[in-house]
Symmetry: C2
Amino acid sequence: MAMLEGMKLYDGGRAPNPRRVQIFMAEKGIDIERVQVDIARLEHKSPEFTKINPMQRLPVLVLDDGTVIAETVAICRYLEAIQPEPPLMGADAKDSAIVEMWQRRVEFGFLMPVAFAFRHQHPGAAALEEQQIPEWAEANRPRAREFMEFLDRELATRRFIAGERFTIADITTYVAYRFLKPGRIPPPEDLANLQRWYGETAARPSTQETVSV
Amino acid sequence: MAMLEGMKLYDGGRAPNPRRVQIFMAEKGIDIERVQVDIARLEHKSPEFTKINPMQRLPVLVLDDGTVIAETVAICRYLEAIQPEPPLMGADAKDSAIVEMWQRRVEFGFLMPVAFAFRHQHPGAAALEEQQIPEWAEANRPRAREFMEFLDRELATRRFIAGERFTIADITTYVAYRFLKPGRIPPPEDLANLQRWYGETAARPSTQETVSV
């Protein structure tokens, strides 16, 4: 594990977006000094953190010149540029476009519905939303299920979400899958290809829960 | 305007995502053979189009080897790789990360709330959603407004959304802004910096409504 000096990662524990960057770094074999921001205690809404990221979202990467890079996928893009191996966002123009297509499909089609199901109905998420709309949570559960059925058909033809190589699209899918339970969406035990993929992904060293620096 | 041969763009007229790719191509000075898919007539939900993109979303780029690239930003990423000038997605690692951060902030913080406000309340959008949830539309309007106020403060310090150069983040912001009216969100006439930015962007040749090929 190579420590990248001069940067700071404002982390957010086990929430989906912080987890995406943690897994991305583990796949790259890199780590970064971390500052823990406790989402459960709403530290990401504090005046201090709001100065760093007005969107009040985690994680955030701060470079040695003070540049703030927020947004999970933007952080991953920067890490991919400075540590290209192994490629997690595509190996050439066409491959990069395919990986980005799948990353986005999974983000909009799976992670977001699962997150809406959680944030708009779970009592533990009440402080995260100005107003919970349970009807919106309920409308998202069948969408997440439908998307999993689509993924299951796709995974009959290849090993990973975006092809034969593990990519950022697998990371997004994995954190969404792990978030099904807080979203009160039944695990897709009947979808054999998705189960096969999940079993393989959950067994990777990068997805093990790790103690942060 | 250079015609890129061997590719086909499944277009979608004036809807926000098709417009994003149209403006991106115009900024690059390139065009691609287009197949019009009529969203108003729900042609994107037809069995024929669903075979091309199971997500039933537009636009879609099909390469000469049959590779399907869906998702607006993935299509832009591919076009950026084959036609790098002028750079619309960043000029180096840090710049690319900053552009991606802003592209995503605008997409999640502005385009999505505006789209939800439209899709969950406008009678003309009833066929696009399985179930319209007006409460969800209403919850998104103050978010869009709040984001515009944030953008206005940011645009006091620089010319464009992600810095001193026009990028994909400006394109996303522009289509979201143009979608305020269908989303029944008042135009931000009191936000002078945002108005200045909008005026400049709306005057660019790339944003003029064009007749497609």
